[in-house]
Each structure stands twice: as structure tokens, then as C-alpha cells.
Amino acid sequence: MLYTKNILSCILLLPLIGAFVLAFIPSSNKSLLRSVALNCSCLTFVLSLLLWVFFNKSIGTFQFVEKFFWIPILNFNFSIGVDGISLFFILLTTLLIPTCLLASWDTIRFDLKKYLISFLVMEFFLIGVFCVLDLLLFYIFFESVLIPMFLIIGIWGSRERKIRAAYFFFLYTLLGSVLMLLSILYIYAQVGTTDYEVLLTFSFSPLEQKIMWFAFFASFATKVPMVPVHLWLPEAHVEAPTAGSVILAGVLLKLGTYGFIRFSFPLFPEACFYFAPFVYAMSVVGIVYASFTAIRQSDFKRIIAYTSVAHMNLVMVGLFSFNIIGLEGAILQSLSHGFVASALFLIIGVVYDRHHTRMVKYYGGLVHTMPIYVLIFLFFTMANIGLPGTGSFVGEFLILTGSFKANTTVTFLSATGMIIGGCYALWLFNRIAYGNLKTQYFKNYLDINEREFLIFFPLLLGTLVMGIYPNIFLDSIHFSVNMLVELMYF
């Protein structure tokens, strides 16, 4: 029997230790830097797999709980723990970070050391967001993620618009989340603590709930992103380096949905029911609008970015159906979106590394020269549409089933998003993969190499497993979601 008591804090601290070690390696020794960073993140992933192995699937409460004193005078303590909801988000993070490091193995030309350090520090913050059990600390981690991401977009971004994109990303998110900070402070002033498990036992008056729900919503909706505040996302995605886009689509967008599940739902249940029609309306607009917008984009990354907006809004519909099926579907769809969207960004990264353009019109007929690449691309395009057998299908199906119980019209309208999704995904795949090979633009005909295949393989496997036998994920999620729904209704 392994000693599992401190495994969570090990997972949390390992990336930070790795970043610290990297700081002392001379920046000229690039291969050592890369291997230290990769080994550290892989070790974190293995440890988080152990977390899953030792996770007790038959209880819905928090496990691996650890508490440390931080500011005892003000009653702020550092407590961490995982339940079924956060477990897979941690796994997703720890899987995607080594993938990102591999994806940018030799595309980063300058400041490699800072790049690796920012990725490891970001991993620390992201794991922190998902496992922390204190509202204030959640906010601290939630905001801290901005700093490394801001630097990654700004320093290693691709074009001159990168500064604008970095500002957009930073200020949109910050503006949303300061409102959340105010309501966290209000909660602290009312309850006297920000400990999550204590807060669950406290109920606010309806007016307080509505105001604070809205403040939280401002923060999380910017992250998801919901429609009027989604503007930062295409900018940030287009300008970020490939690995940055992967993290952005794979994990950062999930902070929004995770925040809704973890905090808005159990703390302000009445306000959630009150505002559900509002969220439905916004999400449906988001799905349809983002899908149509995706059709008329000319930039490869922008298309996938708008796809992300559409899918995440579908997740929102699933969340606000407030039943177990919908919520589980939403979590599963978040995970599968984390796999599929990051794989699509990696696919863009592969051709971008070879041809240095993201314009769709310069590509064509890649199937003639890059068959393996096109196969992987086809698989993830199908997963993006939600073909049965992939994780997205299970997620979308559960979401639509759940929301059918709550609101049939919304189900109908959001299902149209899937049809339009078929349009843009197939259109994009068709333009890139088939047709004549545009030899006038191409100089480089290499298919993907071993490293790139290794990047795609875990994502491919994960998507397939999630589609064929989703129960291994749903088993662990089930009891926590059950508890959450009970908390909301009673």
C-alpha cells in the first residue's frame, strides 16, 4: 500500500519545485532544460493517475483533504482536496502540460528557460484552482493563472497583434473577476470564513444570492466565454503560440464551468434557478452565433476558437439543466472538449510549424503528402462534430437529454448548433485535406514525426475511451454530482 495521504500536495508542489530547479540551470543548456521540465510534468501526470487509482468512487465528499494554516488571525486557511468533479480537471491539466511542452519542443527560439518556467508555474496555479477548498484561495489561484498566460501570449505570441491580444485577455478576465472578489469579501464579512465546506452550510438571503450570483457570473462567464464577453478568446487564441492555445482551450476555459459547478451552484441555488432562463438565452445565442461565425472565418485557429465558444456554451446549457444527467454530461463534455479542442490546436501547430501560415486558403490536398496527419485530423474533426464513438458524442447526448427535461426549446435550439458544427468542421477538413495539392505555396512535405505522433496518441486514446466506455469517468463523477444536486434542491 502506497502512502497516499500527501499525494495531492505533492502533485500541487511538484511543478513549482520543477520551476525552481529550472531557474538554476543555465539557459544555454537547452536540452537539459527541456528534459527537466518534461520529466517533472510527466511525473506530475503519473502522480495524478495514482490519485485517480486511489480515489474512492463510492463517496461524494472531498478526499485527500489536507489543511495548513495561512493567516490564522483572519481565518484564512490553505485547505486542498479533490472530489469527483475536480479529479478529472486535475488529470486533464497534468496531461496537457507535458503535451504542450512536447508540442513546443523545438519551435521556441528564444527565452526557452522562461517559457518552460512559465508553463510549470501555470501548471501549479491550475492544479491549485482545481483542488483548493477555500474561496479566497480559489480566487488567488484563479487570477494568478493570468500572469503566466499573459506573458506567454505577449512574449512568444506570433504577430504584432499579440500585445493587443494579451491586453484583451488580461483585462477582460480581470474586470470580470474583481466583481467576484467583492462578493467573496462580502461572504467573508457575513460568514467570517471562506472555507468551502463551512460555506456549504450557510444560506444567504435571496437578494444577496442574486447579487452575488451575478458577480460570480461576470467572472466565470468571461472565462467560459459567454457571448458578449467572448471577444478576448479569438484574439488570444490566434496570437498565442500553439502550446498556449492548447492550455487556453483545454484548461483555462474549464475554469469557468468548474467555477459554476463548484461555487455558484451550491452557494446560490435560488439565484441559479432564478437566472437559469437568462443563462439559457445567452448560451443558445452563443452556440448559434459562434457556430455561424466559425463558418465565415479564414483563419484556421479562429475557426477552432469559435468552435470552442460554441461547445462551451453547450456545456453551460447542460449545467443549467440542474439534473444529474445534464451535469454529468456537462463535465464529460468539458473533458472531451479539453481533449478535442487541444488536439485540434496541436494539429494546427503541426502545419504552422511547417508552413508558417494559418490561412485556410493556402492549404489543400494535404492527404497526398501527409496521410497519417490527415487521419488524425479526420478523427478529431469527427470528434468535434460529435460522432458516436467519441467522447463528445456522449457529452453532447447527455447534455441534450438533461436539458430536454428542463427546457425542450433550448434543447432544440442548441441541437441546431451541432448541425452547423458539422458544416464548419467538414468544410474546414475538406479544404485542408482534400483537393489539389497547392504546390505553389508548399516547400515542405514531411508527414508528422514520432514526437508529434506521441503528442496526439494520448489525446486520441482518451477521446476514444471516453466515447466507447464513458463509465470509467462517470463512475467517479457520479456521487459528487449526486451530492451537489441534493445540495441544490434541499
Binding site: 490564522p72 488567488i140 487570477e143 512574449i155 491586453y167 488580461f170 474586470l175 466583481l179 469579501l185 464579512a189
Partner: protein
């Protein structure tokens, strides 16, 4: 050490006495050294003598504080208590850092007169007295001592029009605000017949406003008027919003080392005086000046956040940053609870130390193209900092995030504790406006970070390497700030003790 056993009670002002006497000695010493025929440059030796004197008096302060008891001497004009002790200690260490950090700047700008260092020491003496003053007149004299030193420091570059202009502006507006202070003090004296804080406190205890309605023993409105005048005078010194207009010109015009000193050090002492007057003595009038202060707070946060957006020069940017930071500090001041004093002190200490960090990075880095005597004035001059000294750039970034109040830094903790006091005393509107403005304020800090990292640099290595001494001090400061985030208990315990003392009246 009990009070009864002391033969010579004035021993409690030993640090001030020591500092004053050594200053007089230093004046004589330097004059005799400097009038030799070959005009030797004694600036470095004076600096180290000044550092020695200052550290010795800090040591004396520390010695006093080992057994802090509330003890007033010299006919109750000066008091020694925990708040005075701790603020003197902080001010002393801040000015020590300042003196050591400004040395490369003084050498490069050829500020060779020994008076410069002595004036700084005089200002420190004034600040020490300000921290422990126990009546309005002593406070006035202490303010004047430090302000006169500041006027001269501001106009020290005699051949620069900007510097002289800054000095004169500072002098006129400073004198104006001092006269307001005196007017207010005389009004209060006219009504009550006393200027001592203890006696004010006995007169205007918590129940005073009720007495005010029943009897006409005092003219309460005159006292209120006097208090508002004093408040305005002190807000002038703090440069908060409606009274801030002198600050950008003065800060921009005066030599950077002077700006460094009077941007970082004196705020804490002024806040100590504010606390002594408005909390310790006149807390009964809390409601009457509170709303006035809240308006000031909102205004200064708005002005500080939006005014900084269009600044292209580093010093002006830091002025606006300090205006908005004083606004945040005054939020805690206007909340009027026990916790608010605690948070206020935490905020001020962190503000001073992070300000010290920013300013010292700004003063110790020197551009290589020195032909125009041009130091890094514009924001864009920082563009090559990352190339030439990337560790310093990382420190600078971290401290900027801390000053902006961004999460994993101590600046965030103290900022949210200020907002917390606002919410606890139901100032929701103020909290909302200031937190939204803080987002706007963040923009200009991240613009600095953009300049540091995101822009393409064509020429590298434009900075002189910094000295080992400065880099040691900077990293000490940096790790202090990091440590305070990991273990903020230290900060809160210390400010808890201060608020215990002040809030006996609350």
C-alpha cells in the same frame, strides 16, 4: 524599567536627541572639511556617516521599544508609545534603504554637496518627531521641519529650471497647507483652550456628540471646521485627489533621488499624525469628517487610475500610482473600525516597502548613453532592461504585480483587506468604484510589463551593471515582500498591536 525609577524621563526621546546632536556635529564637521583649498568631494564619506548616524538612531529606537510604555515627556508634548516606536523603526529603515540606494544616482548626477545628505537626515528627524508628537504645535513644527527639508531637496539641481520650479511649487503649496493646519489648530485652541491630544481625548470622548446637542458649552461646529482644515492640510501633504495638483510637477521636476525619498518615506508619518488626531483625539467627530473623506477617497482613486493611463514618464506614472494608493489607504482610514486601523497599517507598510523596491530599481539602473544627462525618464527607456539585466526585470515585474494588487503577491492581500474593511462598514459603493478603478489602474502597470518584455529590442546592453551592494539590498526587499505573502501573520500581528493602542478611543 518602570516610570518611577527613571531619573531622567527624557531618555525616551534619546533617538531624536542623538539624531539632532549628531546632525549639528555633522554640519560643523562637513563645513570644516569642505572649506579646504582643493574642495575635496566628501559626498561619499558624508553618505556613510549619515548611514551610520541613522542606523545608530534606529538602534536606539529599537532599544526604546524593548519595553514600550506610554510615556509623555517635555511637558506632554512628545509621547513614546508603540505606534511611535514601530513607525519610527519603519521610517528609519526605509530612509536607510533610500540613502544607500540613491548613492549611484548622486554620483552620476554629480550632486556633490554634502548638504543633500544632511537635509535628508533633517527630514528624517522631522518625521521621527512627527511620529511621536503629542500636541498640535509639536506636530506643526515637525511637519515644517520635514517639509522645509523637502523643499530644498526638490530644488537641489540648481541649474535645472524644472527642479527650481518644482521646489517653488512645492514650497508655495506646502506653506499654504501648513497655514491651513495652523488656522485649524488655532480654531480648536480658541474653542477648547488646549492643544494636547490627551486632553482632547478626555474632552471629546465617544459620547460627545450627544452632549453637543444638550449644552452649548463648546461650539462644536467651530471644532469641526478646524478639524476639516487640519484634514485638508494633511491631505495636501499626502497628495490625494482634489489636493494632488502639485504632485506631478514636483515629482517630475525634482531630482529622482529626492522624489524617491519624499514619495516613499513621509506618508507613514503623516498617517500616524492623522490617526493620532482623528482617531485618538477626535473620534467623537467621526461622522462629521467621514463623508468628506469618502468623497476624497473616491476622487483620488479615480484620478489616480485614469490619470496614470496617459503618462509617458515613469515618475509621473508613479505619482498617479501613489495618488490611487493613498486613496486605498484612506478607504481603510474612513471605515472607522478596529480592523480598519490594522489593515491601514498593513497596507501602509507594504505600500512603503514595495514603493521602495520600485523606486530603487528606477534609481539604480543607469542608461549607458549618458551624453544628455538623460536618465531613464520615459517608460520606453525600460525596454532594454530585460536584455541587460533579466533578474532585475523579473524582480521589477513581480513588484509591479504586487503594487498593482495582483494575486499571488502581498499587495493583493493588503488591498483586499482594505476592501474588506470597506465592506464591513457597509461602504459598498466605494468598494465597487475603487475595485473597478483598480482594474483600470492595473492597465498601466501591465503596460510597463509589456514594455519590459513584449517589445523587440534591436540594441542590447544599454544599462550599466548595478553594484553588488544595491543588488543585495534589492533582493532583500524582494524576498521580504515574498515572505510577507507566504506568512502575513507577522504583518497583521504587528499592526494589531498598533490598532490596540489607537482604538482605545474607538
Amino acid at each position: 524599567m518602570r516610570i518611577e525609577t527613571l531619573l531622567f524621563k527624557e531618555v525616551v526621546i534619546l533617538p531624536e536627541l542623538f539624531l539632532g546632536i549628531s546632525l549639528i556635529y555633522l554640519v560643523l564637521h562637513c563645513t570644516f572639511l569642505a572649506i579646504r583649498k582643493n574642495y575635496p568631494l566628501i559626498q561619499n564619506s558624508v553618505l556613510y556617516l549619515g548611514v551610520l548616524v541613522l542606523s545608530l538612531s534606529c538602534f536606539l529606537v529599537l532599544n526604546d521599544g524593548l519595553d514600550v510604555l506610554e510615556l509623555s515627556v517635555l511637558n506632554d508634548t512628545i509621547v513614546n508609545d508603540y505606534i511611535g516606536f514601530s513607525s519610527k523603526l519603519i521610517i528609519g529603515s526605509l530612509s536607510l534603504f533610500c540613502l544607500l540606494m540613491m548613492q549611484p544616482y548622486l554620483i552620476s548626477q554629480k550632486i556633490n554637496q554634502f548638504e543633500y545628505i544632511l537635509l535628508i537626515l533633517f527630514a528624517v528627524l522631522g518625521l521621527f518627531l512627527l511620529c511621536s508628537s503629542n500636541d498640535l504645535l509639536t506636530a506643526y513644527l515637525a511637519i515644517e521641519l520635514q517639509s522645509l527639508a523637502f523643499y530644498v531637496l526638490a530644488s537641489f539641481k540648481k541649474n535645472s529650471t524644472y527642479s527650481v520650479d518644482a521646489g517653488i511649487k512645492y514650497f508655495i503649496l506646502g506653506a499654504f497647507s501648513s497655514s491651513l493646519f495652523l488656522f485649524g489648530a488655532s480654531l480648536i485652541y480658541g474653542v477648547t483652550g488646549t492643544i494636547n491630544f490627551e486632553e482632547f481625548r478626555d474632552l471629546f470622548s465617544n459620547s460627545f456628540p450627544i452632549i453637543l446637542d444638550q449644552t452649548s458649552f463648546f461650539d462644536g461646529s467651530l471644532v469641526q471646521f478646524g478639524l476639516v482644515l487640519i484634514l485638508i492640510a494633511l491631505l495636501f501633504k499626502l497628495a490625494v485627489a482634489p489636493f494632488h495638483t502639485w504632485a506631478p510637477d514636483v515629482y517630475e521636476g525634482s531630482p529622482s533621488s529626492s522624489t524617491f525619498f519624499f514619495a516613499v518615506v513621509p506618508k507613514l508619518a503623516i498617517f500616524v499624525l492623522l490617526l493620532r488626531i482623528f482617531y485618538y483625539s477626535f473620534f467623537g467627530f467621526f461622522e462629521s469628517w467621514r463623508y468628506f473623506l469618502v468623497v476624497t477617497v473616491v476622487l483620488s482613486i479615480i484620478v489616480g487610475s485614469f490619470g496614470g493611463l496617459e503618462q509617458r514618464k515613469l515618475k509621473s506614472l508613479l505619482v498617479y500610482s501613489s495618488i490611487s494608493h493613498m486613496g486605498y489607504a484612506l478607504i481603510a482610514f474612513s471605515a472607522g473600525t478596529f480592523e480598519s486601523i490594522q489593515m491601514l497599517f498593513g497596507y501602509l507598510v507594504v505600500y512603503s516597502f514595495s514603493g521602495l523596491c520600485v523606486w530603487s530599481i528606477f534609481t539604480i539602473t543607469r542608461l549607458r548613453n549618458n551624453h544628455l544627462q538623460k536618465q531613464n525618464k520615459d517608460l520606453t527607456d525600460l525596454v532594454s532592461l530585460n536584455k541587460s539585466n533579466y533578474m532585475l526585470a523579473i524582480f521589477f515585474t513581480t513588484v509591479l504585480f504586487s503594487v498593482a494588487g495582483f494575486p499571488p503577491m502581498i499587495g493583493f492581500l493588503v488591498k483586499i483587506s482594505v476592501f474588506l474593511t470597506a465592506i464591513e462598514s457597509s461602504m459598498f459603493f466605494v468598494a465597487l468604484i475603487s475595485i473597478l478603478c483598480s482594474v483600470v489602474g492595473t492597465f498601466y502597470y501591465i503596460r510597463l510589463i509589456k514594455i519590459l518584455y513584449f517589445e523587440k529590442v534591436l540594441v542590447g546592453m544599454l544599462y550599466y551593471p548595478i553594484k553588488a551592494q544595491s543588488s543585495l539590498l534589492i533582493s532583500m526587499l524582494f524576498f521580504l515582500l515574498l515572505f510577507l505573502f507566504l506568512n502575513p501573520t507577522l504583518l497583521y500581528l504587528f499592526s494589531y498591536k498598533i490598532s490596540l493602542l489607537i482604538s482605545t478611543a474607538v
